[in-house]
């Protein structure tokens, strides 16, 4: 039993505080990994790995093992497998993803059928159930979150270099294959960490939408990582509060908030870029033409 912190509504109760902690961790970690996936045009990788993680959950229910561990094992194997297929040229990026999507969900359905457990427990992992996160879940999510943050802190510059130009990175001696596999494995860890929060079907949204918003307002790569994580965390907090106020599904609400922030950033980002173009056009002074030209020149 954890001590309940003196937080204001809507986080005054223990179950909401556990949900808040788990939501914040996933809200911060998802975009950290997603920033690299979006730049590598692999935005749907998290979704594909989520489907494989579902097969892992079903295997756990069948074998009577805690589904988090079996999901983690399946997700890491699936992530490394897709990276291998992609980089060895055995399948194009979208075909490799399709393979992962359909094999994962089909495997999950078959294993769930064998376990005879297509019930509330399965739906918990498919759509998330953040309000039922217990202390042991929160600790597991926290450990996975620490792994993700530490790995990104050490590797982000090298991963950025690969995003920028993987051939030049390879020529300069960076371990491109190893770092790509590491990123795929971290994606799997992130998916599993977020499984209880928003579910395997929506977890990729938290890896992509905050990044889409951040890259419209941030100027540097480091700033994009920080802003995207801040947006992910804000989505978790606002989504949880909104869900409690109107008794909505928390996982879906968190993702909808992230989507709303993305839409807002698209408007703000477009206006800002437009303003920069206008400023740029003032130097050098454009030549005035037409009937008002003489007056303008005076």
């Amino acid at each position: 039993m954890l001590a309940v912190l003196p937080l204001p509504w809507p986080f005054e109760r223990e179950y909401m505080q556990l949900a808040l902690a788990a939501g914040l961790i996933v809200g911060i970690c998802g975009p950290l990994i997603g920033t690299f996936l979006v730049q590598k045009r692999l935005s749907l990788l998290g979704d594909g790995i989520g489907h494989v993680a579902f097969a892992g959950v079903a295997a756990g229910l069948l074998l009577d093992v805690w589904p988090i561990w079996t999901a983690l094992a399946a997700a890491v194997v699936g992530a490394v497998g897709i990276e291998w297929l992609r980089t060895r040229g055995r399948a194009s990026g979208d075909l490799a993803l399709a393979l992962l999507f359909y094999s994962g969900i089909a495997g999950g359905v078959v294993l769930t059928g064998l376990a005879g457990s297509l019930n509330t427990s399965t739906l918990t992992y498919l759509f998330g159930s953040i309000l039922t996160v217990g202390p042991s879940d929160a600790v597991t999510i926290a450990v996975l979150g620490v792994v993700i943050v530490l790995a990104v802190a050490v590797c982000w510059r090298a991963l950025f270099s690969i995003v920028l130009d993987d051939e030049a990175a390879r020529v300069s001696g960076l371990p491109v294959d190893g770092l790509n596999i590491g990123l795929a494995a971290l994606t799997a860890v992130t998916v599993v960490a977020g499984m209880r929060i928003v579910g395997v079907l929506l977890v990729a949204a938290l890896m992509v939408l905050p990044v889409g918003a951040a890259q419209r307002v941030a100027r540097s790569f480091g700033a994009t990582l920080l802003v995207a994580s801040a947006i992910g965390a804000t989505s978790a907090v606002v989504g949880l509060g909104t869900a409690r106020q109107w008794a909505l599904a928390p996982g879906g609400t968190i993702v909808l908030v992230a989507g709303a922030i993305f839409a807002l950033s698209a408007v703000v980002g477009t206006r800002r870029r437009g303003a920069q173009v206008v400023v740029g056009s003032l130097d050098p002074q454009p030549e005035a033409i037409g009937p008002d030209a003489e007056r303008l020149r005076q």
Binding site: D165, S172, G173, R219, S220
Partner: protein, 249 residues
């Protein structure tokens, strides 16, 4: 006698049944500025990719600083600027972010930047004339400025061999001039420079050697003056150069 930065010995390569390179040999000593020219499809980029260890040769050998590409531990000694499209407007990276990435291999990719890294990045930005734009997002720059950014990234490594694959295609005159200055600076500081290009006009007076590749074979290997004497102008319009080169060999 200068040490050899790059040695390609009797290299052949084919894509399936289509021969691309046929027993190509060349040497680039340290401190040399060499251009590799040839029409589209003559095998220039394939030769460079093999020389850098990105493609395995079907036959023949490649040495970088006396070692096979996979055996060379100090890979940071090579600076490489590949062919590239213009960066996406949404790429969230400043010019400084991109140039600083060139220092990773030299200091160890897991280490944080040190003051020597910052000095090298500033110097590379100065050389290509982009210091004032260091804080600007790459996607807001012109194509020529973006190319200079990637050349600065390679220069920031402080390489002993700088290889550039078609870096000036579609680049404005100001960028061409800055580009020429950067390559001459790299050569004058003791490094070898290999430039793959159709457009050699900007650097014609600075080149030590020109190699012309035609149908996968070296058709010419000599001084720029000798090439001019055989009727080929390096200063012609880019689309004309391959036509001129058809008469070589």
């Amino acid at each position: 006698m200068s040490a050899v930065a790059l040695r390609v010995d009797a290299v052949s390569f084919a894509f399936r049944d289509h021969p691309v390179l046929d027993c190509v040999s060349l040497e680039v000593p340290e401190g040399a500025f060499v251009a590799l020219a040839g029409a589209n499809g003559s095998g220039k980029s394939t030769l460079i990719r093999i020389a850098l260890g990105l493609l395995p040769a079907a036959q023949g050998q490649v040495e970088l600083f006396g070692r096979g590409p996979r055996q060379l531990r100090e890979r940071w000694r090579i600076g490489y600027v590949p062919q590239r499209p213009v960066a996406s407007e949404l790429l969230p990276a400043t010019v400084r972010d991109v140039v600083a990435a060139g220092r990773l291999a030299r200091r160890g990719w897991w280490r944080r930047p040190r003051s020597t890294d910052r000095v090298a990045v500033d110097r590379a930005l100065d050389v290509v004339g982009l210091h004032d734009l260091a804080g600007r997002p790459l996607g807001e720059l012109s194509g020529g400025q973006q190319q200079r950014t990637f050349i600065a990234k390679a220069l920031a490594t402080e390489p002993d061999l700088l290889v550039l694959d078609e870096p000036t295609t579609g680049v404005d005159a100001e960028s061409q001039r800055r580009f020429r200055d950067a390559l001459v600076e790299a050569r004058d500081s003791g490094g070898a420079v290999v430039l793959v290009s159709h457009e050699l006009g900007a650097v014609a007076d600075d080149l030590d050697r020109v190699l012309v590749l035609r149908h996968g074979k070296i058709a010419f290997d000599g001084a720029p003056g000798d090439l001019a004497a055989s009727g080929v102008s390096l200063g012609v319009h880019p689309t004309d150069l391959p036509v001129w080169l058809e008469g070589i060999g």
